[in-house]
Assembly symmetry: C3
Homo-oligomer: 351 residues x 3
């Protein structure tokens, strides 16, 4: 269950080069490609001629060409040409609004007349010399909401990520969840604790002592449809924690774009934007590698959890205080889906 | 959807040696084996004792022996013997008419009393010193009719086989489709064009210049249930094209036997019979290898096309002039299936 | 179809060390672990918090800890603790009686109040200096009853195991099946025959001549739910066969515990207890390796047989005299299942 009148990340910019890219988003198979001036387009991955996947084709002079019989598809879903054929009567295929921003391809799977690029959220860290960004993509065979739950409740770090970012103090420190309109924020502030291995390394990378007590913060922010940004960092204790001056802290934002592929699988775009040593590309690579390993630790858990839930579809789960972030996020998702369904029924009635 | 009162190619002769061979043809699991004097037989791959697959057994003194408990099966589906048992009351299993011809095992999956070996089509090239033949087998997860479409519309060569047999002139030259009884012929004649790489190599192999303009022809002939023979070749331009004397041309027949395994998978026997340098076994191997690579280029396209069609079962496809060969061939298939269904209903009514 | 109010072997003791073990038994996913004093427990593999598999967690101080958010599960299915939570209202999860005996973990998947460890069968060979035991585990994608059939009719050895324990004399010698309460015994005694390779090696291992005629016996004993113990051995001919004094024979028991995983898959625990050279650990390893290879020969046959039966679910199979062991065993299984169903319906009626 997912809203469709919203922007999802479909791919990173790096994934889409000269060749088209086929990908299923929200149960819809799409073909992405770069047209003139590298502009990104998305159409149904279904050639109107004989149903071949357009993503197996190629791009010629800005047009998507079917790799089976050479039909040239326009970004408006209308066939432009086909060798030896008049194409005027060819049925159009569906198109999807697609926008490239922040190094990602964003797509709007629902009503295309509602797609407004202004609704794509702002990302402060993009194209900003104070920040550096690195990230990756995982395909996970689980409902995308299990990943929202995961990221909006970081007590799991103590168990799943015990050797990197987990520490008992996370469990021991209560978190606080608030809802602000369509956003949900779950935050936890830990004081005067040892830094876990990942943050020790970050302190060292910035040239700060890693063997002194720190204050640590985690501020998880969910926004629809399923983006989770986590402000995460540590400061040498006694300098103001989250509010400490830059020279006493390492500060970053964990960036998570979670996109439903099907009802029980997702594309998980993860990354980290950091506000320290942004010019250090080697550090960016090191962090990406480290984060990739850490986030891979969640995958088996989520896929096996999904298998359990699929086998017991009606079994009730608990909603504890630590789950408030996920529970509130799902409530917003549910409301958006209900609104879409109501609007779609009304449309049918008045039509 | 496929007719069953017809001969299909089930295997190449090479595939069936001392051991039985289990294969599903038209949704029926069959065990093929060689009895006395190497004669080929086909029975249900189901031991009447406990349902073990007979194809896991062995052949002893011309009899198929179940590898589980030693039941000896006759080519008439009746149990011959079983250690320590009286077998008179054993239920018979189904048998299939099977004939070895042209280096292939042919099988008749439908009403066995209708199976007439005289209905197996003639193959001029077999056992003929003027011809050489080489080929192979691919298993493809797609409806067999998608391969018929593919072979009856060679404009796809321009796109799928761009580096070997494809060339823009195919696209640019109209084809002509005619129906003669149960046969469909789609032909295309190109004049005064450069030879594509595959045919350049063929010209060289015959000792002909490969850098001069050629006339090229493709005459695709569908006959039921799903055989497609393609006369294909090139002649030095100005010598009469298809009708040119042998010394100015390289002439071959692409041989395609397409056999349904299930509703969405097929056995695809492909090969080439050529009428030049038939004694050159090395050339036969080279052509087989080249053709195998070219025909493998179609497989992903067809399997992904099948996935698209399975996901959108009711979506209409276009029927263009280039599709006429496939469309007409499917019309004949449809008629044969309808006739079989009508005959079978009538039989039930009169019974 | 399987009875559930009975003990099944779920794992060998070796499989369950420090980490929990997740396994499906009779369609139920269970988490096995060792608590205090290494005692074995089994609970549903479903954390009551969010449905994570408990088997992905760890054991701490005798308690099973969920690897996702640290919930501590007790062996009674009640949550003991969870960081920062009151757990009193947490719903309990199911538990399964589990007992470690004879080097195996036994589990009772049905009504837990009926689970009585005294019902676990006696195994004479365990912890007995006169005996040695070695074995292994195979996962087989077939109904567990196909393995019961297999083991209660050893004529298949002639075909499936022709190079090790098979010999024509098995086929030629009639077997005898008797039913004693819930047990079925199928026995075959062969006199004055050559020993097959496996038994030749066993004779040599004991220092006995392997090139003289032997008497050979096979006494297969089925007991519910699906244990098959096979007394198997050979004696130098003329010394009394099965009754021969120990110095003239090699005597062993093939131990088979067959546990349904799902309706069409099983866990097959196989092994051999032998009463000769029990102190020779190298011999134990050699026999385990040899037996493992022999028993692996059955797997493809059973899995392909299952595929055939799944494709033809209503087709009748034969029940010959050689099948009497399997047929009688299935009759007992059927009766036990019927009794359980009747009891469960009565319970519903009176409730």
């Amino acid at each position: 269950m997912f809203p469709v009148n919203t922007w999802y990340v479909a791919a990173s910019s790096d994934e889409l080069k000269d060749k088209p890219l086929g990908r299923t988003i929200c149960n819809q198979r799409m073909a992405f490609y770069r047209g003139k001036d590298q502009q990104v387009h998305a159409v149904e991955d279904f050639c109107p001629h004989r149903g071949a996947p357009l993503s197996l084709g190629f791009v010629s002079d800005g047009k998507l060409v079917c790799g089976y019989h050479g039909l040239e598809m326009g970004c408006d879903g209308k066939t432009i040409a086909m060798p030896g054929q008049r194409v005027k009567g060819f049925p159009a295929i569906g198109t999807y609004a697609a926008v490239e921003r922040y190094g990602f391809i964003w797509v709007w799977p629902g009503d295309q007349d509602k797609a407004d690029p202004a609704l794509i959220p702002e990302m402060e860290w993009h194209d900003n010399p104070e920040w550096a960004y690195g990230g990756g993509l995982y395909h996970v065979k689980a409902d995308y909401r299990l990943m929202v739950d995961n990221l909006m409740d970081l007590t799991h770090e103590t168990y799943v990520h015990a050797t990197s970012i987990g520490q008992p103090e996370i469990d021991e420190t209560p978190c606080r969840t608030t809802v602000e309109g369509d956003a949900v924020v779950t935050s936890r502030f830990m004081s005067d604790i040892p830094a876990p291995p990942f943050w020790k390394a970050a302190l060292r990378a910035k040239g700060l002592a890693d063997d002194v007590p720190v204050d640590r913060w985690q501020i998880c922010r969910f926004t629809p449809p399923s983006h989770v940004m986590i402000e995460a960092g540590v400061a040498h204790a006694g300098h103001g924690g989250y509010e400490a001056p830059a020279e006493h802290k390492v500060y970053s934002v964990v960036v998570d774009f979670i996109t439903p592929e099907t009802d029980t699988s997702m594309w998980y775009f993860w990354g980290m934007a950091r506000k320290f040593k942004p010019e250090d590309a080697t550090l960016t690579d090191q962090i990406r590698e480290g984060q990739g390993k850490i986030f891979a630790e969640d995958l088996e858990m989520l896929e096996r959890q999904q298998a359990n839930l699929s086998a017991h579809p009606t079994r009730a789960l608990l909603k504890l205080n630590i789950d408030a972030g996920g529970v509130q996020s799902r409530r917003i998702i549910d409301r958006l889906v209900s609104q879409e369904q109501a609007a779609s029924q009304q449309q049918e009635t008045t039509a």
